[in-house]
C-alpha cells in the first residue's frame, strides 16, 4: 500500500535531505557514495539537497543522541508534506550497539516517524539504492517477512503462521 502511495506521490524526481543524527560517518559516506560514478543515483532523478525545505525524503543515519533529538524533530518538521523518512544503518534502525547508553535516545523511530529501515553496519550502497527503489515501487520485492519454522506439529506451525499473517498489519500492507 505504502509503495503504491509512494508511486503516486513521488512520481517524479526525489530530492533527498541527509540528516546525521549522531552516526559514526560510515553510513554517511555510503550515502554520498551512491552519488558517485559507480552507483550514480542521479540517473533515477535522486538528488541530494542541502536544506530540508527543498526535500521530499529524509535519510536519517545514526542513533539519535540526546543533543540532536530536538534538532532532528525540527528538521523533520521543516520538510514539506508529503514526506518519507528512511532510517539508514543499524543505528538508525534500532540504536545500534550503544542503544541504551546515557547520551543516546535510541533509533530513528524514537524521534520521528520512520517509514523504511535499511539496516547494515554500514549499509552497502547497493542496499540503499535497492531500499529506496523498493519503497518507490521501481523494483519488485525479492524478500518478504518469513517466520522461522518451529520444531512442532506441522498443523500447529501452519495455524500459527496463518494467525500471524492475519494479525500482522504491516505484513498485509507490504503485501498490498
Amino acid at each position: 500500500m505504502l509503495s503504491k502511495l509512494s508511486k503516486k506521490m513521488f512520481a517524479k524526481s526525489l530530492w533527498v535531505y541527509h540528516c546525521n543524527s549522531g552516526a559514526c560517518n560510515g553510513c554517511d559516506i555510503e550515502i554520498l557514495n551512491v552519488l558517485t560514478p559507480y552507483y550514480d543515483v542521479e540517473r533515477f532523478g535522486i538528488k541530494l539537497v542541502g536544506s530540508p525545505r527543498h526535500a521530499d525524503v529524509m535519510l536519517l543515519s545514526g542513533a539519535v543522541t540526546r543533543p540532536t533529538l530536538p534538532l532532528v524533530k525540527k528538521a523533520y518538521e521543516a520538510i514539506p508534506e508529503p514526506k518519507l523518512v528512511f532510517g539508514i544503518g543499524s543505528c538508525a534502525t534500532g540504536g545500534g550497539c550503544w542503544f541504551d547508553t546515557y547520551n543516546v535516545t535510541g533509533g530513528g523511530d524514537k524521534a520521528i516517524p520512520v517509514n523504511y529501515f535499511i539496516p547494515g553496519c554500514p549499509t552497502k550502497p547497493e542496499a540503499i539504492i535497492y531500499g529506496v527503489a523498493l519503497a518507490l515501487g521501481l523494483v519488485d520485492k525479492q524478500a518478504s517477512p518469513y517466520e522461522l519454522k518451529q520444531m512442532e506439529f506441522p498443523i500447529d506451525a501452519y495455524e500459527r503462521k496463518k494467525a500471524w499473517e492475519e494479525r500482522n498489519v504491516i505484513y498485509q500492507l507490504i503485501k498490498d
Partner: protein
C-alpha cells in the same frame, strides 16, 4: 637530547618531594606520580623540555582510595618516548590547577572531566560545558562508577548553550547543527565583520554516544575492538589497532610477526581510501565536483577489495587483541598488488590535475594560515601539522606494528595553508602504496593470532599512539579485573586539531569557512564526544530560548 633518565632526574631535582614515584613500564614509557598541587609547574617544566601535550585521562578511583585520578600525557617525539604524569584529587573536593593557560590544547580534556567526572580546574580560561548535553543535570557524572551506563535523566525544555558574546562591531552567523557543508552535527557561531571572520564559538559533541562508559562497564576485552571500529566509520582499523596495541603493551603480549604486517597493510589501505575520500570532499567544498567524482571513483576499488579481504566495506572486524582474524591469501595478495599498480597510475593523474589547476590554487593558497609556532603551541597533529612544517608522524616517532621495518618518507610542506594539506595528503598516498608493497614482500609466514591468556594482569597503565589518516590517535588503557579494561580513553586526531581551527579561521573570508574546517579532515564522531573555543575573550552572554529559536530558524532556511 632528553632521555627517560634525564627527564626523571630533572623533575626529581627541580620538584623534590612533589615527585612521589617514577616507573618505566616499558622501555619507552615513563610514569611519574606527582603531588596534585604542583601540576601546573611540573607540566610547564615538561613542556619547556620540548614535549608535545597529547591528552589527559581522568578515572574514577573512589572504590579503592576515595580519590579521582588524572593523568596528563606528553610525547617526546624525536626521543621516541611518552610521559604519563599521574596525580589524584580527593573525591569530595576534586580541585586541581588548570594547565590550560600554558598548554592551550589541554582545554578540552579538562572541560571533559569537569562534565564527566566532576573535577574542578582552577584558572581554566573557559570552564564551560563540553561533552554532556545542555539539559544534562549538574551533579551527575556519567564516568563515575556509581552511575550506571544507561542512566538517562529526564530532558529539560528551556536549557540552551550559551554562546560567547560577539566581539564589538561584528555580526554572528550561526552554522549548523545540520548544515550542507558539515556532514555531521555540530554548531558553529562565526563572528564576522563584513565578510571577514573575527572569531568563533563552537558547540559540538553532539554525536557523543558514551562509548567509553559502555565499554568499561558492559563489554569484555575482545569485544571492544569491534565497538572501537564503530567510533569512526573511516578510521576504524586505527582505533581497533590502537586499543589492541595498548592492551598488548600493558600486559606484555607479543603478537606474531605476520599479524603485525597485516595490521600495517590494513592501516595503510585505510589511509589510502581516507585520503581519496578527503580529496573528494575538499573538491566538493570548494565547488569542484569533478574532483569529488573522480577521487571517489578511484576509491571504490579499495572498498571492493576490503569487502573481499574482510567481508565488509568498512568496520572490518580484522584486528583483535593478540593479532588479526583473517589472513592474506596468495590470491588476495596478487589482487592487492594489481590494485596498488592501478591506484598509483590514477593517483598520479589526479595529482597532476589538482596540482595544475589554477582554481584550486586560488581557493586554497594562503587560506587557513597558521604559523609553525602556533601549530606547536596548539599541539596540532597529522597532515595539518606536517603542512605547517612540523615533522611529526607517529609511524616514525613511535614505531608500532611493522613500521620500524619498512622504509618510507614523511612528506612535510611548509606553506602553512590549506594548499599544503592537500599536497601532504596526495604525497602520503604514494608513501602508503610504497609501504603496502614492502609489507607484502617482507611478510613472513606463520600464525596470525596469539592465544591470549584467560586473565590479563590488572591495573597496568599504557598509552599508545597510532598515526591515523587525519593525524595521531592516542588510546590510554588501564587494565582491569572482570576481563574488561578499568578505563579506556580515546583521543582522536580531530580532538587537538579542531581546537586549532579558530586560529586558522581568523581574518579569513567567510566563504572559505567550509574548506578551512574541511582541511583538518574533521571527524566529529571520533572527537565527540561538543566544544567551544574562544578566540577573543569576551564576557559571557545569555542566549535565551527565544533567541536560540530565532537563530535556529535562520540556519534552517
Amino acid at each position: 637530547m632528553n632521555t627517560i633518565e634525564s627527564v626523571t632526574q630533572t623533575l626529581k631535582s627541580k620538584f623534590g618531594d612533589a615527585v612521589k614515584a617514577t616507573e618505566t613500564p616499558t622501555g619507552n614509557r615513563l610514569v611519574v606520580d606527582i603531588d596534585g598541587a604542583k601540576v601546573k609547574d611540573v607540566s610547564k617544566e615538561i613542556m619547556s623540555l620540548g614535549a608535545r601535550y597529547m591528552v589527559s585521562i581522568g578515572y574514577d578511583n573512589i572504590s579503592r582510595d576515595n580519590t579521582l585520578g588524572l593523568i596528563h600525557t606528553y610525547a617526546f617525539d624525536k626521543e621516541q618516548f611518552a610521559l604519563m604524569l599521574r596525580m589524584s584529587a580527593p573525591a569530595d573536593n576534586p580541585v586541581l590547577d588548570s594547565i590550560t593557560p600554558d598548554t592551550p590544547n589541554a582545554g578540552w580534556s579538562e572541560r571533559e572531566y569537569q562534565d564527566l567526572l566532576g573535577f574542578k580546574f582552577q584558572g581554566h580560561p573557559k570552564p564551560k560545558k563540553l561533552v554532556t548535553a545542555d539539559d544534562w543535570p549538574d551533579g551527575i557524572y556519567p564516568l563515575r562508577k556509581d552511575v550506571p551506563h544507561n542512566l538517562v535523566p529526564p530532558a529539560a525544555e528551556d536549557v540552551a548553550y550559551q554562546l560567547d558574546e560577539a566581539p564589538p562591531g561584528t555580526t554572528t552567523i550561526p552554522i549548523g547543527p545540520f548544515h550542507s557543508s558539515l556532514h555531521e552535527p555540530n554548531h558553529w557561531a562565526l563572528y564576522v565583520d563584513g565578510e571577514t571572520i573575527k572569531g568563533c564559538d563552537y558547540r559540538g559533541f553532539m554525536t557523543h554516544r558514551g562509548i567509553e562508559k559502555l565499554c568499561q562497564t558492559q563489554l569484555s576485552y575482545n569485544e571492544i575492538p569491534f565497538v572501537a571500529e564503530r567510533i569512526c566509520g573511516i578510521c576504524g582499523s586505527v582505533h581497533a589497532c590502537c586499543y589492541a596495541q595498548a592492551v598488548e603493551a600493558a600486559t606484555g603480549l607479543v603478537i606474531p610477526k605476520r599479524a603485525e604486517f597485516i595490521r600495517t597493510i590494513m592501516l595503510e589501505i585505510e589511509r589510502l581510501h581516507s585520503h581519496l575520500l578527503w580529496l573528494g570532499v575538499a573538491g566538493h567544498l570548494i565547488g569542484f565536483d569533478t574532483v569529488f567524482m573522480q577521487a571517489w571513483r578511484v576509491r571504490e576499488q579499495i572498498m571492493w577489495f576490503c569487502e573481499k579481504l574482510t567481508g565488509n566495506r568498512k568496520t572490518y572486524g580484522m584486528i583483535i587483541i593478540g593479532g588479526v582474524r583473517r589472513d592474506i591469501t596468495p590470491e588476495i595478495r596478487s589482487e592487492l598488488e594489481t590494485i596498488c599498480k592501478n591506484l598509483e597510475k590514477e593517483i598520479t593523474t589526479i595529482h597532476k590535475a589538482v596540482a595544475g589547476d589554477t582554481a584550486i590554487h586560488k581557493r586554497t593558497k594562503g587560506v587557513g594560515y597558521i604559523s609553525k609556532e602556533d601549530t606547536i603551541k596548539w599541539s596540532l597533529v597529522g597532515p595539518v601539522a606536517r603542512a605547517r612544517g612540523v615533522d611529526i608522524d607517529a609511524r616514525k616517532d613511535h614505531p608500532y606494528a611493522s613500521y620500524g621495518e619498512v622504509k618510507f618518507d614523511v612528506p612535510v610542506v611548509d606553506s602553512c595553508d590549506v594548499w599544503a594539506t592537500v599536497l601532504v595528503r596526495i604525497l602520503e598516498m604514494y608513501e602508503a602504496i610504497k609501504i603496502i608493497r614492502q609489507c607484502l614482500q617482507k611478510m613472513p609466514e606463520g600464525p596470525i593470532l596469539l592465544e591470549v591468556p584467560e586473565a590479563l594482569p590488572a591495573f597496568k597503565h599504557m598509552v599508545m599512539m597510532v598515526e591515523a589518516p587525519r593525524g595521531e590517535a592516542t588510546h590510554y588503557v588501564i587494565t582491569g579485573e572482570e576481563n574488561r579494561p578499568e578505563r579506556w580513553r580515546v583521543r582522536a586526531p580531530t580532538y587537538p586539531n579542531l581546537q586549532g581551527v579558530p586560529s586558522m579561521l581568523m581574518d579569513n573570508q567567510f566563504a572559505d569557512f567550509p574548506i578551512i574546517l574541511g582541511s583538518i579532515d574533521p571527524c566529529f564522531s571520533c572527537t565527540d564526544r561538543v566544544a567551544v573555543v574562544d578566540v577573543r575573550t569576551g564576557r559571557k552572554s545569555l542566549v535565551g530560548k527565544r533567541e536560540l529559536e530565532e537563530l535556529s530558524r535562520k540556519y534552517k532556511k
